[in-house]
Symmetry: C2
């Protein structure tokens, strides 16, 4: 996607101008976290952090951007050097810590931490929240669907329900990180080095004079890759027709009706016709609960195709992600770093530059501890936030989506099974270190102005 520097909230830009104008250039630390788990989620899976880093690396203001801002009434009182010098030369120069993509995360732990001069740390808020919040939503739901499928492949094909073309690509990415084995989105497959998967639409059948010739034509052209769609007219009649015609499709697809009953009937017809190698692919408004029911009831479905429920994270299409200042150098660049917190009712933040540690018993995660980054953390615990950008430069090369998926699978398996349950999951323990708790209490009792 193009990197559009102005595709952000106006207030990020006015505040940036304000900080610049007032010489507020001290380094500040902002953290991105989610306030609470949405319903139906017992954990989140972090994703979209790579797109956040790409954005930070590439953020520039073009001369057209600058001319447009200069002409806005809000910027009338802003001095010329903000446009001619600051924005013209703008590069993100900060340091970023983030959890690995694919890591299960639990509110209110930070997923991402940015330390940079105040105007830089501020202006990136909107886009970081959008990229990380969106992909995290989708990856979190993907893991649930993949778990529900209990080893049967889940394929993402929700681009048509996505919130635009870019959303389709990144939804596919997040779904693949969360465990989907393929995507129908060809550009996503190309960009992320993953398999593209596809079947046929009802229109293919309807554009032929009869279903027989539609099936035959497809098999002939896409020999070995054909997945024949059964439900355009009558699912069982179509299945019998395939058997009678001697076709040997690699798979057939059910896209409507009672998937449990129909998959069993189709399986019987295929098996009786010598097509026991033909797999059954099911789709049609599937979500984790429907997948779990089909699997639990033993329906002979070999693979699932999921659409909009996944790519829009339809039951939780937005996370309450926030990006809040937690610390700043007092008195300007080089000053002591002091912790800060917002105290708006119901929207309080935890102060200070933080780290999150995951504790283990053997291979099983037992809880997360949120503390200040300069604390030592529980012994044997793993720190989740790692340095991904230093002074505006990426620390490591991006991982492939395949690597991220493998990591995600490993991290998710470390969670207690009761936390991973689809329904009635246990709450995973998240605690604060005494030092963080004391810092928050101290700030909470202090007057508005510290």
């Amino acid at each position: 996607m193009e990197r559009l520097a102005l595709a952000t909230d106006l207030y990020e830009l006015t505040m940036m101008a304000g900080y610049y104008s007032k010489g507020l250039l001290a380094r500040a630390t902002f953290e991105l976290h989610v306030r609470a788990l949405p319903p139906h989620r017992s954990f989140l899976v972090a994703a979209g952090l790579e797109q956040a880093v790409e954005y930070l690396e590439q953020l520039r203001f073009t001369s057209e951007d600058i001319a447009y801002l200069r002409g806005l009434p809000q910027f009338e009182g802003v001095r010329a050097s903000f446009f001619d010098e600051y924005l013209t030369q703008f590069r993100f120069s900060g340091t970023v810590w983030a959890v690995d993509e694919g890591t299960p995360v639990f509110p209110p732990a930070p997923l991402l931490r940015v330390t940079a001069p105040l105007p830089e740390a501020q202006v990136v808020e909107t886009v970081l929240l959008a990229y990380v919040g969106f992909q995290t939503s989708v990856a979190s739901r993907a893991v649930r669907m993949v778990n529900a499928a209990a080893g049967r492949p889940v394929v993402e094909f929700g681009s048509r329900r996505s919130h635009g073309v870019e959303a389709g690509l990144y939804a596919a990415r997040a779904a693949l990180i969360g465990g989907c084995r393929a995507t129908s989105n060809v550009e996503a497959a190309r960009r992320f080095g993953e398999p593209a998967s596809g079947t046929m639409a009802h229109s293919w059948i309807m554009a032929h004079d009869d279903e027989d010739s539609a099936f035959r034509d497809f098999e002939e052209i896409f020999d070995g890759h054909a997945v024949l769609l059964l439900d355009t007219y009558d699912t069982l009649a179509a299945t019998r027709r395939i058997v009678a015609s001697g076709l040997k499709p690699s798979a057939v697809r059910l896209d409507s009706g009672d998937l449990d009953a129909e998959s069993r009937a189709v399986r019987r017809i295929l098996d009786a016709g010598g097509l026991s190698a033909t797999r059954i692919f099911a789709s049609g408004d599937l979500d984790e609960w429907r997948i779990a029911d089909l699997v639990g009831n033993g329906a002979p479905v070999d693979a699932f195709g999921v659409g909009g429920a996944l790519t829009t994270s339809s039951d939780a299409p937005l996370l309450g992600g926030v990006y809040k200042i937690v610390a700043m150098e007092r008195g300007g660049p080089g000053g002591d770093v002091v912790p800060m917190m917002k105290r708006s009712p119901g929207k309080e933040t935890l102060p200070g530059i933080k780290q999150v540690w995951r504790t283990f018993a053997g291979d099983s995660a037992t809880g997360d501890v949120i503390g200040l980054a300069d604390e030592r953390g529980p012994s044997g615990a793993q720190p989740l936030l790692k340095c991904v950008m230093s002074e505006g430069r990426r620390v490591d090369a991006p991982k492939s989506v395949a690597q991220l998926r493998a990591g995600c699978s490993r991290y998710v398996e470390q969670l207690p099974p009761a936390v991973r349950r689809l329904r009635g999951a246990d709450r995973y323990p998240v605690t604060l270190t005494p030092t963080l708790r004391a810092t928050a209490d101290a700030l909470n009792k202090s007057p508005s102005e510290f």
Copy 2:
């Protein structure tokens, strides 16, 4: 955004290759419609059709796209001329009819109709559904929020909750069509010729030594445009501080807590302090119901800022939009056009090339009638589908978002007030012409193969 020809479902491309390989180049008509209204929607508002037309105008396959497809295992059996000739020279050459953006629409009426050679009409499915479904979702919710605000301005600022950067831009566009008066997204404001709006974040306050100096600094730089945020520490104390300091902000913003009680208390303090011209802007997880409650209770809120509930259409983040073949030339290009329908259980489509007529009593819409496009339609009724592309070329220049918003407001006001109600709305009458009904019945009774 870039136009990415491969950002589509693999099956669109395999079917295109299949149609080409089998010489299935007859003109087909596909229609895009929504199966049913989601909960909490008594009407939809069409949007995203301009992006659909832009996509159709610009769709091209680059040599890299073609090389990638050629290398996919699925395309092994496809002959070379598909890549070297067909894809290389590909241009969308079809004719498109669509409803005006901003028009209230009622399932199962088509919003868009494409007539083109089969491979062209097929391959555009995924992206048309994504653009139209997404913006229609957002515009539909925007109208509800704007209606709830009863004349008070509603400002869109949900980019941070959007499903990426592109989604933020087009959510803003749809929100503006639906009646929002401004957007916080600067790129959207620039691109769509609309006002950009913004306030300040809590970080602005927190980055200052005290709230007083934070307010004073902002007023000084953004004189006449400053909207001061009250709830960082203590809303009422902040309001008193503004009065005491002699600042005269154009507005103040409440972003948390009990907005009804706090807006009244803030209004009293402002009025008593001689700041009766200072307006109160409310935000914080607002939706149409919360806005309606505030307005209904007489809370002194002058304008509303809405975020993710709007830009993700959070209660209905996806529409069950479908794009289905409804007619095709029989026997190849130039043949008789025959109606077609899909009969999958619960997913049946209406056959034939259709038109939708809206009937009126005076200025008030009384119902929609769906019929075949070559019918005459009820006398005095307005046909909703209009030709927007002819043989691959746009018919009229795009309308501005301001024009579309004005049209939307006019069209929505034509709906019966009981249909527009937020809660317990009446069902708007949608009927089929006897001819369309008879066509559907005839096809339903015919054997699978016609």
